[in-house]
Amino acid sequence: MPSLAGLFFWMNSKIENIKKFDVSKPLKLDCGKTINNFPLAYETYGKLNENRDNAVLVFHALTGDQFVTGKNPITNKEGWWVTAVGPNKSIDTNKYFVICANVIGGCMGSLGPKSTNPDTNKPYGLDFPVITIRDIVRAQESLLEHLGIKKLLCVTGGSMGGMQVLQFCATFPEKTFSAIPIACSSSHSAQNIALNELARQAIMADPIWDNGKYFLKNVQPKNGLAVARMVGHISYLSEKGMQEKFGRKLQEKADYEFSFNADFQVESYLRHQGYAFVERFDANSILYITRAMDYFDLSKQFKGGLVEAFKNQKTKYLIISFSSDWLYTTKENKDIVIALNASGADVSYSEIITDKGHDSFLLNEPEFLKTLKSFIDSMHEKFKNEKRI
């Protein structure tokens, strides 16, 4: 079996063959720097219909990628949102044209810290500019023109994907008919910044990381990156969910080993998730994308705060939160609803009762999936009528 790092670099070579669009329009980033002629990797599912009224743009979360459903050709695993997107699913690809792009700063083909810096002919590493959620969204907007879509039926995504939904609606209010931000927040909380910092510190504390220059030696700071992923996995579950799933169950043993091996199932789970992640993700990308999340504060972009961000909009919103999500709480999601109400927007809100924590949006949660389907289908009917008029 090849080493994990070897597997990672083998995957990198496969990434050369995926769908990409060269963004020629220069993009001025929030940090002041400009990027141009950069690649944006994306995938589409279903077909754009003749009236071009069935396009749904999906935004992925921190560790996601453009492979929403079906089989991910790079990892050979199922797409990250196979529960919600696909033929006869809530976002039915027999009916809708689903688009998803890899975020800039990511590592699945879009411009990111492991892309080659034209100035040095070496990967950027930490020379990659610090990006924001707004930069990420602006980069993706150029994809719409490329695909011939004037107005999307819907933009949706969970977690960091939800933040991109809010940003998209604030920056390009005319470009979507409806929006579904799921389990997210309009500004990253102190707790979430702290958890992201924990992930970053884990990576940076790994000597292999070497100030982000590990790629020069064809290695990955896998221990640090695995710990960073473990932090994430704890935050995606709920206390109750974790207790029910693992409790104090031991991992394939009758008693304690009196060692520091993974005695408990929960330890084994974390180690597995952590080290499996190393195979498919770049450590520097985690630094950049978590930073973008931390900088996200939509109210700061508008004088007059969040209410102003949604003023005079026709976009129809559905906000969804999960009762046991402590990473992006119901309260944070409701704050978005309150702002939308205050700006007079057309908004629906539903809280899904579940023990499965933040992860719920990726899981088979019937109530959630039904709500998603109801909303998108009814929006499609309305959008069709609007287009006809």
């Binding site: 057309d346 908004v347 539903s350």
Partner: protein, 197 residues
């Protein structure tokens, strides 16, 4: 659509903004939007009803009117509608104050505890009344603060809340209720619909 909703719909002018508190499955909202071009919003506690509204493409927020009305800004709606739930709140006065803050006017309907059948049930049988409009028994009723049309009338007077219109509903008949016919209408109306604020 039930008679009550028709009466409520008649009170609401076309092309206005209306918030329906406890909007149920959205049948009133659907009617208002389709027939009167009213911009509707709903607040609903029951998740199945929320689901139904979303399915119909109606904007609905899942929430509890008792605790979550603060999310709506002052005077952000032309009308706020509250159908037959005022009596079920822990603190109806607080809810009513909130509705008057959110809406320029408020439409409140109540099942009338002063209706003659209700009165006879208590007077002649000595039992808590169970009728079509009050279908629950004493131990499982959500109604904590039953009142009569006269009670709500007097309440508004006492609290300096302007009463613009009161309509009594009995089966398919409706009639305006004023101070001079209050006693008799309070006896013969199943429902009272108040336009206040």
């Amino acid at each position: 659509m039930k008679k009550e909703f028709k009466v409520i719909a008649d009170l609401l002018p076309n092309n206005t903004r209306v918030l329906d508190i406890g909007c149920g499955d959205g049948s009133l909202m659907t009617f208002l939007r389709k027939e009167k071009n009213i911009e509707v919003r709903g607040l609903e506690l029951d998740k199945d009803n929320v689901q139904t509204c979303i399915h119909k493409g109606l904007p609905v927020i899942q929430g509890n009117a008792e605790t979550e009305l603060h999310q709506f800004p002052d005077q952000s709606f032309d009308y706020v509608v509250l159908s037959q739930t005022l009596q079920a709140f822990y603190d109806p006065e607080k809810v009513l104050r909130d509705l008057l803050r959110i809406g320029k006017s408020v439409v409140v309907s109540i099942p009338n505890f002063g209706y003659w059948k209700v009165r006879t049930k208590l007077l002649f049988f000595g039992e808590m009344p169970v009728t079509k409009t009050l279908p629950n028994t004493w131990y499982n009723t959500p109604n904590l603060h039953m009142c009569t049309i006269k009670d709500l009338f007097n309440f508004c007077d006492e609290k300096n809340i302007e009463i613009k219109k009161v309509i009594g509903v009995n089966e398919n008949n409706t009639s305006f209720i004023k101070k001079n016919n209050l006693e008799i209408k309070n006896l013969f109306s199943k429902l009272g619909i108040f336009l206040i604020g």
